[in-house]
Symmetry: C4
Subunit: 509 residues, 4 copies
């Protein structure tokens, strides 16, 4: 029984020496990694084409419909006078009507029942709002009404009646211009893929909810990707598609195989653990601690199982996308990306079979609980600073506007971000707040960079030395290892070959 245990805890090299078993599972694992990465690259290239087309279209819509649009940053495009707002809305309508003569892309209006869908201009306003700031009185009904106007393209007769009247002052909440444009991404034809059809639902929102004299303008596009209805491409495209589907299926097959093997290994481990517990109870009358029982469940197997599950799900989704039934590129890319990340991380396991590499991996693993423990303590202080920063400095600095931004900003500051600008931009307002911001930033940075980061280094340095001493002394760390170590046969002695069946061995070796 001791031999079975020992065999279970061997690595592929030792197994090979013990039973002359070729590390088939290791090869399977490496093959899997190669295939997954190849699949990821292939998906990445077609994803890039889709993302690039979407982004370019979005940019060209902004340029076509927003007059004087230059900068790409959010919220920086804003209007301040009534005439500007009127002009911009009219400009959008004009551009929409003349779109076919203006654009250099192949954009078309949506066609529903043989008729082009109109552009709609909607304004939202309070039902009643009599506001007199001069003497501080107001009478308001917070219910919101909406009034709309439809403008049809391609109908020159309709052009005169565009009598747009925006009710400025305190009533107007927002003006939104909505229209739908259709386009085809022809680029894919050159890469022997079938083109997709895109529906862009464009909404341009003039937001006056704040009534602060500043109307921000945002153009948002909602994209729906669908299969094109009727197509003909001269040439031989379509074939390579089947090859891709075949490739994906192979990936799914291999991952499933790997998944099954790993799960068998995990189950074997759990069974062995029960046997071991029983054995110890019977012969030595000792209890087996939880940490020893956890050693039977190999963390690497769990990682591989997770990775395989993600790959199978991602590949299935990818087939759906390639056959144009599905279009959720985002979810697919997250699944495949995470799977590949885990697959590559899993490779570190094989480095661990070499003694000198092992010490580094062991150090990281041994330091991990302490690092997490300490991170918890630091996180408390960090969260305290986050809340405090958000509430006090939120008004001074855009980086402190939302709690999520404060977290990112403080995290970046610890790791060496542009600190001076953070200091600089807080130097305007009242002296109390200025002083507070200095105290806040200096104390935060000093505590975190000089104390907390240094303690991380101290933790790792200490763990490294501890592990190194352990390895040099080769003392068995637990009952389990002591028990196994008593089995003094060398892996190459050949005994394992006779009294153990080959099937009891795990998935990746």
């Amino acid at each position: 029984f001791r031999r079975r245990l020992k065999y279970y805890f061997m690595n592929p090299c030792e197994k090979y020496q013990a039973r002359r078993r070729k590390p088939l599972k290791l090869m399977l694992q490496i093959l899997k990694m190669a295939l997954t990465t190849a699949q990821l690259v292939s998906f990445g290239l077609s994803n890039k084409m889709m993302v690039g087309f979407k982004d370019d279209s979005r940019v060209s819509f902004r340029r076509l419909f927003l007059e004087g649009y230059k900068d790409h940053r959010q919220g920086s495009y804003a209007l301040y006078t009534r005439s500007d707002v009127n002009d911009r809305v009219r400009f959008i309508i004009g551009q929409y009507i003349n779109l076919q003569n203006l654009t250099v892309g192949n954009v078309a209006y949506e066609l529903v029942d043989g008729e082009y869908t109109p552009l709609s201009v909607c304004q939202k306003f309070y039902r009643k709002s009599n506001v007199f700031p001069e003497n501080g009185t107001f009478d308001i009904d917070p219910c919101v009404d909406e009034g709309c106007l439809s403008i049809h393209p391609m109908q020159p007769l309709h052009r005169p009646p565009v009598n747009l009247s925006l009710d400025f002052g305190s009533r107007l909440l927002s003006v939104s211009v909505r229209f739908t444009l259709k386009t085809i991404n022809l680029q894919t034809v050159r890469h022997h893929e079938l083109p997709d059809c895109y529906d862009f639902h464009v909404q341009i929102l003039f937001d006056n909810r704040a009534h602060s004299g500043r109307i921000t303008v945002n153009l948002e596009t909602d994209v729906r990707i669908s299969e094109c209805r009727d197509w003909s491409v001269e040439g031989k495209s379509g074939k390579i598609n089947y090859l891709l589907l075949l490739f994906d299926s192979v990936v799914i097959l291999i991952c499933s195989a790997s998944l099954v093997l790993c799960m068998r290994s995990v189950i074997t481990g759990i069974q062995l653990q029960f046997e071991f517990k029983l054995f110890f109870h019977t012969y030595f009358n000792k209890a087996v601690t939880w940490s020893e029982r956890m050693e039977f469940v190999n963390g690497w197997y769990l990682l591989i199982i997770l990775s395989d599950t993600l790959t199978v799900a991602g590949s299935a989704l990818k087939i759906g996308i390639q056959t144009k039934y599905l279009a959720n590129y985002d979810v697919c890319s997250i699944l495949l990306g995470s799977a590949t990340l885990l697959a590559w991380v899993g490779v570190i396991r094989y480095f661990g079979f070499f003694r000198k590499y092992n010490i580094l991996i062991l150090t990281l693993r041994a330091a991990f609980p302490n690092v997490v423990r300490f991170s918890c303590c630091a996180a408390m202080m960090y969260l305290g600073y986050c809340f405090c920063g958000w509430i006090v400095l939120g008004g001074l600095h855009t980086q402190f506007r939302t709690p999520a931004k404060v977290m990112a900003c403080l995290f970046s500051l610890i790791n060496g971000d542009d600190m001076y600008n953070t200091f600089l931009r807080m130097g305007d307002k009242s002296y109390t707040v200025w002083l507070f911001s200095r105290l806040y930033l200096y104390s935060f940075i000093s505590i975190f960079i000089y104390m907390v980061l240094s303690l991380f280094i101290a933790l790792i340095t200490d763990t490294y030395e501890t592990i190194k001493h352990h390895q040099q002394e080769k003392s068995p760390a637990s009952q389990l290892h002591a028990f196994i170590a008593e089995c003094s046969e060398q892996p190459g002695s050949g005994r394992h070959q006779t009294d153990e069946e080959a099937g009891s061995c795990g998935c990746v070796g």
Copy 2:
């Protein structure tokens, strides 16, 4: 007596084991933290609305009144020719008169005694100033006179006589345009709060004090937030307000309770300390050192007391703001923010009850005095560099203009700021200064990053190892701990329950 001492130094877990006392105070503390954070978030959201409105208004005033204003940075908006100055002043007057037709916000002129308050254009000039730079002679009287001009809006008859004549040349010191605008922040209606009324005192200053040919233009707004005089909102707002006030009152109550308990604990500690001193003097005839006496005053209690005081003050202020009697959001946010920061930091105490967490907290606490000590030494060098940098490089680089900026800039440089730009911008002037700036920067960065920061790490690493060895050896650190340790009963032995009354226990457990 030894038992009472031991009991005093127990943590809640041990107290529970000793006397079966439920850690009510710990729960109170956690409840307090949750409530304080909830209160902070609620205040943060309404604060954000106020700050957003103020900022947006300020931006829209800049855009409306400063012709060609684009950039948000301080001081970059400047004029260089006489005609430009005249045009800009006339533009401001024109925009002010037409404001009601231009703006998209609900801004109105101030109404005092049924009449709109005028815009005033004031110029300051030297009483006498005959300056002839061509032959280096001047005759000047540094007394400053001021001349003003009022322009009333809504009076079309008044428009012709705007005969603005600015006395350029050496006499003019500054032109300031001042006016007051009123507005109402309607946004809050949608969040079921009552709207505030805002008075914006706008001042546009054309600053020519330097007489360098460059007139900087600054628009500054001074905001006064007040309750609106007369209002009616259709719907049910007003109720939620009472709930908020109730919530704030609960927070005040809980914090007061926590405050009272903690103070009692601190007082108990001080009493025990006197008894202990007497006891040691009587029985052992030994003096008790200051550091031992300080151990009776628990630092965590002081932190909680400070946090509670701030919370109570901040909540009271918040009630004042919510009922529209007060409007100093800044002070309130600093009080509540600091309180929450301290409350979250206080949570670390409870992590310290677990042994493995404790070592990290102990390390930081033990390293703290050394870090502070070393920071003092480093601060001397740092201040030396600051003064030197300010005086020599102040003229070359905007980051070195004021001592506060130099401090922030050097601090940022140590922590990994954009160094190259700092180097680059100093590369223009005379060779001596250029060389000095190089020496200055290289020496500063090398000393601080390679020597000082490394010593911080050395300090923490060393302390961590010291603490670890101490914990492994479990040697009593002081007379006090040795004395307590002699009391060998386990906390769970039940003795404490009989001869001690429950009330002698501290606030947080």
Copy 3:
């Protein structure tokens, strides 16, 4: 024999003490370094002039031919409407025809067979492309046809027929404008070098392959540098050229000498190694390990050999460039640059002869294998993150567009790059992806900065201490050193002088 061995492992100081040999090779090496650096500086100055001229010309072409061109960043110059495209193409043609009256440089059209080469405007389009996005149908032939148009300068009669008709819509793939301009870099005359003649092949590409409504415009120049055909310069230039060639030849000679000496030393080392192996086998009957055998091959010699080879190759190329037979400045600069880098690194060897310097160099050398080993493990995780980041975040953030960019970006993030902007720019799209990006970035940065970097420090700290203890104990590290150490004579005892011939000594001492 032991003495020969000992002598082989001596450093120049000890050799001087042992045999009174002057360290001629050390001097040769230092002379070489000085000459190489001088040569590098001379080449750098003429290279700078060439690069500056090329860059300035490229910028001035962009300004002359691209209307409204301001910014230098790639891809930011794009067009969105048909009229804009037509205007820009016409503008280019107009500027080309009037070039001689516009430009301030001495640019001329290319002259082939007495005739000026024309500007050619070419458009590429699909052979057939009927695309109707409105109902999702298309009929496309992915073959690409090209149509061109030539415009001759200096022929006023040709100007009317410029009837450019671009076939917008789905067919047009790209418009490219190509022409060739010739110029002479006169600047070199003032530095007593002969001027070069430059042929700029300019191509302006209007890229519509994406059909996304956005046509990016790129101006690319392909430069060919050639000897000018016929020239006369009044004055004495030409002489200094010969001095430069002489200098280069001297560098080649010295490097060859150094090369030969070092190779002889390496060969001596290999011979000694075989003798040592035999000796040990015969007398002690012990095997000699690989690591001991590798000690006979001095790594520094290999470094010098590599450096010398590069210098010789680079100098030869430089002579070719100076005599205007070759023009590949790039390769030459890489060769010379790498050679100089290696030569300077080689100087560290001489610091190692001092005991206190040695410990630092030994630490780095001893830590190197561990650092590389650990880097391999970290690289696996790193690559996993790279692939995952590329696929998932590639669409959100320009820094994640290509795998090479992802690698650079993540590498920069570890080393303290602007993190906040990376966080910020991912805050737009769907919530799933936003959440994933946060998890991705926080986990990546935490793992790499807090765990991996700390482990590097732990590795180096540990190695430093190990090396220090070794040095203090002076225990012989291997059989070889133990064997040599038995030869207890001091270097200065004079014995070496008699029974060893001088020629057995290595190249650099």
Copy 4:
């Protein structure tokens, strides 16, 4: 004699205990530091006014004379067409003639002998230059001729004959416009200082030396500050000036006193050293090592002497500036700045008198030689990288243009500068160079951040531990300390008071 030695190595506290001597010199030193800093601040404020005026004037000249000037960066203002150059030159002339009506500052033309100095437009050109790039032939005479044209302001009759003809093409090298403007900095009147007169020699250079089609335009001002000739200010200014001079004189006096005392102490130390050497030779017959002899020369005294010398020189210069005899603010600020930096660094000495502070200072001092030693090794590699980067990447990236820039850039990269941009901007040119740049950057950053910086930390950590052990063991480090330690009397025993005269004590205690 041993007592005198011991007394010499005492710190002020111990001296006070030994002889009841008040630490007068320590007080003097602290007084000096306070005065120096106050002086620095006073000089800083008047320096700031001068620098601000100069900068503002420079900016306003750029705005007035360079049409369309926006950006402040060097070299970005350039012209590309002949008509632009002609227009800009004419614009400058026009602005100059109308200056008095345009500018908002009090600028005037220079008046020499009752006549206004003219603006001069000079063009430099090759004497002969026939260049035909089309067939690669040229005939050039590198001699440079210059032709000038003077334009007088205030003479309307002169305006017609401005027939400026620039000889474009290959002959023109540069056009420079030069004029002189005078102004007075009135700002100082308000701070009760006398105004300075400024002569701005403005030169606008259109640089065509490269003949690359790009003419860069630079406006450079050369300022001369002089006393104004004839002035009258109503009010009481002038008095405070005398107070300032008095203050400066006091600083000079105190610094001289400190200087004298310190030099006496150093001399006493050197005398003691000779006596000690003789004593040891006579009684013990032992040689005294150099390191022991160096201990007699207190480094802190040298630092104070240097600081005092700089302060005296700086203060003298400051008096010269304040009385308007001198105007070299730069040198004065460097002298005073360095003096203050050293004075503040000197304060660290007093921290060293406390035991716990001492360990940190000792660590830094002990680690210093090792850090410097290691820096030398690292500097070799660093210089190698610098040269290599300059030659290969100089053409790709502006940060690599000059060796000084490469040094700053690489130094910044090690310390966490914006790395990604450095990577990004190299991604354009040929693949070989791109690959090389990647290798170069990755290897440089990895080696320096992961190996070199870690070794610095290892050095400091190790030194800290060594020093700590030494302090705990209190072993005398050298003969000298052993000798002194034998004198077992406590400082407070009173003996020193009787047999030593007070005057033998050093400057700062």
